[in-house]
């Protein structure tokens, strides 16, 4: 069901089938807000992705003003190099020259406008940035080449490893570098060589048709997809030599009538309830407080029902996860004396 279908049902609940009171844009904004709030409260949406290393971007740019000239149909943009004194510099000695300082600082390696250039059998002189998936919300699990990696801060890496920019090896951690750009850096930098060009666009989560070349260090390879001929269709997720992540999704806004909301169909009714509740509560000609309260209550019930559903998903487990240091649940009905209390008078 697309946003257009949801809109029809929302308007039916609002008794405004022709949109005389609540416009499509108003309801769409409310829907987008509600789905973000619903996801924040329930964490119902999770996804899995594998990312090749190095990341592949569609375009690079240098200055902020270039952003608005980038093609709108793409989203994977890389801000390359570094800004200094209203200009862009490649090497670390360039700011010295611009500042009329004669000395030249030693640099760590090469600089590039696309991260894959740093993996052409050279040592990159800057961090090799990756980009989280477009719908990334909160990381739940990450692994590189089938081994878990931890989240750390850049402060921790810089404090413990003076050579962290040039160091290479098997990544054991990652740190975010800019949350607006949804970017992160693997530490240490994985030893990979970019050996073939990508077909397709942007981050190749499931790139097909690429060949692995074992002799120069393989980059994530993915071929084959749905297996529709054998029972349940399965889409196999490959893990080798790439970043594998499980994350809570940040739902993408619906923008057009044909957009498909990310939530599964059986949860979308709660988004409808929340949207209708907000519409009835908004200060418009259609404001009816009692109905606004009713639909808001129905929405909150939906949040609770969704949490119950998430608990049901874990029901087959034979164990319970507890937080270290927090005492377990007490089941005694009556107060009890300490174990060391003498049973009889000595």
């Amino acid at each position: 069901m697309t946003w257009a279908d949801e809109l029809i049902r929302i308007r039916r609940l609002l008794r405004d089938p022709n949109g005389n009171i609540w416009s499509e844009a108003f309801l769409r904004n409310q829907w987008n807000d509600v789905q973000r709030e619903f996801q924040n409260k329930t964490k119902a949406l999770e996804d899995v992705a594998t990312q090749r290393v190095p990341a592949v971007y569609q375009f690079s740019y240098q200055f902020d003003w270039e952003w608005r000239h980038l093609p709108g149909e793409y989203s994977k943009f890389y801000q390359c190099l570094s800004q200094f004194d209203e200009g862009v510099v490649c090497h670390r000695w360039e700011p010295q020259t611009i500042s009329s300082i004669a000395a030249d600082v030693a640099d760590y390696g090469i600089h590039f406008t696309q991260p894959w250039e740093g993996c052409m059998n050279e040592t990159p002189g800057e961090l090799l940035k990756m980009k989280f998936p477009a719908n990334f919300g909160v990381m739940k699990f990450a692994a590189y080449d089938e081994q878990p990696i931890n989240s750390v801060s850049k402060k921790a890496i810089q404090s413990s490893d003076p050579s962290h920019i040039a160091r290479s090896g098997t990544p054991v951690a990652y740190f975010p570098y800019d949350e607006t750009d949804d970017g992160y850096v693997l530490y240490p930098r994985p030893v990979v060589n970019f050996v073939n060009e990508l077909a397709g666009e942007g981050l190749a989560f499931y790139a097909a048709g690429d060949d692995e070349d074992d002799t120069v260090g393989g980059i994530a390879v993915r071929s084959g997809s749905s297996d529709t001929d054998e029972g349940t269709p399965v889409d196999i997720v490959e893990l080798g030599d790439s970043v594998f992540m499980v994350y809570a999704v940040s739902p993408t806004d619906v923008e057009n009538l044909g957009d498909e909301p990310e939530f599964p169909g059986f949860l979308r009714k709660y988004l409808r309830y929340g949207t209708v509740g907000r519409a009835y509560s908004a200060n418009t000609d259609g404001r009816i407080k009692s109905l606004g309260d009713f639909w808001q209550t129905r929405y909150e019930l939906g949040v609770e029902f969704t949490k119950r559903w998430l608990r049901n998903k874990r029901r087959d487990r034979d164990y319970r996860l507890i937080t270290r240091g927090v005492p377990g649940r007490r089941s005694y009905r009556y107060p009890r004396l300490p174990d060391a209390y003498p049973a009889v008078e000595p």
Binding site: R9, R12, L13, R15, A44, L45, E46, D47, V48, K140, F141, A143, E146, Q147, P148, D227, E230, G231, T232, P233, V234, D235, I236, V237, E238, L239, F244, V246, P264, G265, F266, K269, I288, S290, L291, D293, F294, W295, T297, R298, E300, L301, E304, F305, T306, R308, W309, N312, K313, R314, R315, D316, R317, D318, Y319, L321
Partner: protein, 220 residues
Amino acid sequence: MNQIERKVLELIGEDPDNPDVFVDTPAGMAPIRDAINDAVQEIVMLTGFHKRQCYVPLREGAAFYRLQLNTGTIGWITDAWSVTQQVRLEQTDLLRLSAYDPRWMIYTGSPEAYFPVGKDIIGFYPKPPSDGNVVELTVVEIPESYATGDDRVKLRDSFQYAAVAFAVSEYWASRGDANEAQVHLAKYLDALGLSREYLPFLPQPRFAQTQKAPWPQVTG
């Protein structure tokens, strides 16, 4: 028009045999049918009464599989059975596996455990060393919406009253009567046996209290 729809029409004052507003066409019945479909999906989500069996043919070295059912959406997995090994797989999760052994993704072997990820992905530990094995899953299936009066409504008989109450509640809310809608919503929760847990979420009725003295006063 099926039995549940007829009951809903009766409760909202329509004649099911000669309906005035909700005529027996896809467009005419859409509001009632959509509400019943929402009710069925919510009841399955809460109770898990509708199950289905599906098979996952394992592939060499592949630990994660995205599942898609043809007739609905996966609610959750209740049982996983390794056909070749003839053992039940234990449910686990990523946190526990990583705490148990950080190299858990590397090992291959006959799967001993499974873990659900997201809404439709299942992972196996350890990952299969070869093609050949099949895992038989029993899953709670949240059914797709039925479209016509002749389609099967995947609902237990004992929950039919709950679905009716749900649809009647939505009808009253869409007619602008929040109080009546709330009354039927409470009946819906009661029919599911969830009223004790979730009824406090509904606004409680307000009682007016008089300030008059309960006995006659001497005046003048």
